[in-house]
């Protein structure tokens, strides 16, 4: 899969924002899953930002977040959203259009 043609150009690293709420089991496993997937499939071409909405709930309003955890691919556009603890790597890759 890694050998496949990557639609994302190196000049445009994947910017991923993961919204969580505190240290709940779902949040923790989402963070772990995301980091594992990115390390395996996008080495060096990703940026992960974890936002704890419990600390800054106004960001939930600003970015229209309802479900927790929510993963937002902000770059490249268009924006894509995945909700859930990202337990299925295959699906995550498909939806992030990584490793097509």
């Amino acid at each position: 899969m890694v050998e496949n043609v990557n639609p994302i150009t190196p000049a445009e690293p994947t910017k991923l924002v993961l919204y969580v709420a505190g240290q709940t089991p779902k949040s923790v496993s989402a963070i772990e899953n995301l980091e594992r997937i990115c390390a395996e499939h996008l080495p060096g071409r990703y940026r992960i930002e974890v936002v704890d909405l419990r600390k800054s709930p106004q960001l939930a309003r600003e970015h229209n977040i309802i479900a927790i955890p929510t993963l937002v691919r902000e770059l490249p556009t268009p924006i894509r959203k995945i909700i859930g603890d990202l337990s299925d790597s295959e699906k995550v890759l498909v939806h992030l259009k990584i490793g097509d």
Binding site: Y19, A21, K26, S29, I65, A67, I68, R80, I82, D85
Partner: protein, 559 residues
């Protein structure tokens, strides 16, 4: 759950609804407002929220899952709410929960903590006491895992209670259930059902309190209205017979009519039926009552189901009534509505609302027969009964006009109302000798001695007059028949008088003639008597002479 002895309630500020629920919605609890599309759920919810923020110092959050905030602002602006001011004053917050399922993928376990965080933030920002969720069911089409959703919605309702928020949750009506997603399972405190039915092409909105835990409430279906003044529920409760009773009399505006009643005029607070065929003057009589009330300084409402205000004002000018003057100075309110504009129930409700707001002393319904066709006979009767009850309870005099199609068997109205009425003025229009004449008859006047006569009803430019009919020869006549009969009688009288004079003259003449004859005979008699006396004198003279002669002769013989 915890049962409170005295249930706290939050006023919605919706006209009629707070009365119906004896104080409003349960404070700190969720209320489900459900109904089909377009039945006014969102309007109900926003009115509750905006009234709270504006009038009851209870800031509120409007959580919209469907409409954009800008649409909500527009929607309520038409009802006269300056929503921007409330938002600026931190009394209102609109939280838009927009979900585009197309760009969303679900992978693994999740919850709706984001929603909770946003609500918590909004509550904290403005110190919200009220909240509206419109409509939470949209979530079911946005998320694919119903098990998670149900658990989260249950958690949401618990959260609302924890935060002591008085909540209104709207839900779309499902097939055979109150809501599509069974929200009623979660809301056990208060459920309100809105309905929108079309019958005979006339739509009526109805509201019903399906459930209100721990509180008494009206259980009927109540019509409600959405108009430029917003949402109003119109409780049309059946009242007992605790009517106000007055001994005082009020003038009808027709002096001759008042004179037909002992002590003059009708009882205040009574219900008066004015029935008659087309063109018999029903509206004119009704307008006289209204005019008289205004002239006394009272207030009156004229509900017209056939004519517009301008039309009635113009027409009444012809009998010398200036209703325009009273409308201008606010003593008279003229409400014109086509019968088909509302359903029967809605008509009643709207009228009751007008009356409650205007507080008149006298009400005219012209004509009640316009309702026939809007419902069954029994429905109309029930509606009018409620109207009469309401007016009597408030001591308002009522004039009902009723168009009859036939004058035969005129003692029964189509709507079967006669028994509800205290007084019944029957107007007739009868053809006699090639002309129609209006007549008025007081068919009934409870508790008042009244004339049993049929009066001729004459409308002139100085008002309505009742002319006593020609009574004589065992019949009563009206119109030109009356005039002709009176003229004929005058002529006969004159003739009779001339005849009598002639006879008197003739007798007098004869008498003078006889007297003349008597005088002639008497003078003859006197002549005869004179003659007789002269004859007697001659005789006695002769006898005396004869005697004297004899004496003289005897004397001479002796010698």
């Amino acid at each position: 759950m915890d049962s409170e002895l005295a249930l706290r309630k939050s006023k919605t500020g919706i006209e009629g609804f707070d009365e119906l629920t004896l104080g409003g919605l349960p404070t700190g609890r969720p209320t489900l407002v459900c109904g089909s599309a377009g039945c006014g759920k969102t309007l109900f919810a926003s009115t509750f929220l905006l009234n709270g923020a504006r009038d009851y110092d209870e800031p509120g959050i409007f959580v919209t899952f469907e409409e954009r905030p800008v649409d909500i602002v527009d929607n309520v602006a038409s009802l006269g709410f300056a929503i921007e001011d409330l938002i600026a004053a931190n009394k209102l917050h609109i939280e838009h929960i927009a979900i585009a399922p197309a760009e969303l993928a679900e992978i693994g376990e999740y919850d709706l903590e984001g929603l909770f965080l946003r609500l918590e933030l909004a509550v904290a920002e403005i110190g919200a006491k009220r909240i509206v969720l419109d409509t939470i069911e949209t979530l079911f089409s946005s998320f694919q895992n119903p098990a998670i959703l149900r658990a989260e919605i249950r958690r949401l309702f618990d959260w609302l209670k924890e935060h002591d928020l008085t909540a209104v949750i709207t839900g779309e009506r499902g097939d055979g259930t109150l809501t599509r997603q069974g929200l009623e399972e979660y809301v056990s405190d208060c459920v309100i059902l809105l309905d929108h039915r079309v019958h005979n092409q006339i739509s009526t909105r109805r509201l019903r309190v399906v459930k209100y835990r721990g509180s008494a409430h009206g259980t009927n279906e109540y019509p409600f209205l959405i108009d430029q003044e917003g949402f109003s529920v119109l409780p049309v409760s059946a009242l007992g017979l605790n009517h106000k009773v007055f001994d005082s009399r009020i003038a009808s505006g027709i002096a001759d009519l008042d004179a037909m009643l002992a002590n003059g005029g009708f009882h205040r607070g009574s219900s008066i039926l004015v029935s008659g065929v087309a063109g018999s003057g029903k509206s004119s009589v009704a307008a006289c009552f209204a005019n008289a009330a205004c002239a006394r300084g009272e207030r009156a409402i004229y509900f017209s189901f056939e004519e517009s205000a301008a039309q009635t004002i113009r027409n009444m000018t012809s009998i010398g009534l200036d209703l325009g003057k009273w409308i201008d100075n606010g003593q008279l309110r003229y409400v014109a509505a086509r019968p088909t504009f509302y359903s029967l129930e809605m008509h009643l409700a709207v009228m009751l609302r007008e009356i409650t707001r205007f507080r008149p002393d006298l009400v005219v319904l012209d004509p009640i027969s316009a309702f026939i066709g809007l419902g069954e006979r029994l429905e109309i009767q029930a509606m009018l009964l409620r109207m009469v009850d309401f007016l009597k309870t408030h001591g308002i005099t009522a004039i009902f006009s009723h168009l009859m199609h036939s004058q035969d068997g005129a003692t029964e109205t189509d709507a079967g109302l006669s028994s509800l009425m205290d007084a019944w003025i029957l107007l007739l229009n009868r053809e006699v000798g090639g002309e129609f004449n209006r007549e008025l008859y007081l068919l009934k006047a409870r508790g008042m001695a009244h004339s049993n006569q049929v009066r001729e009803f004459v409308m002139g430019n100085d008002g309505i007059h009742l002319v006593a009919p020609y009574i004589g020869g065992g019949r009563a006549l009206t119109g030109s028949a009356r005039t002709a009969e009176e003229a004929r009688e005058r002529r006969a009288e004159a003739e009779r008088r001339i005849k009598a004079d002639r006879i008197t003259d003739a007798i007098e003449q004869r008498r003078r003639k006889v007297r003349a004859q008597i005088e002639a005979l008497e003078s003859d008699l006197a002549a005869d008597e004179a003659e007789l006396r002269r004859t007697a004198k001659l005789e006695s003279d002769y006898l005396a002479q004869a005697q004297a002669d004899q004496v003289a002769m005897e004397k001479s013989r002796r010698i």
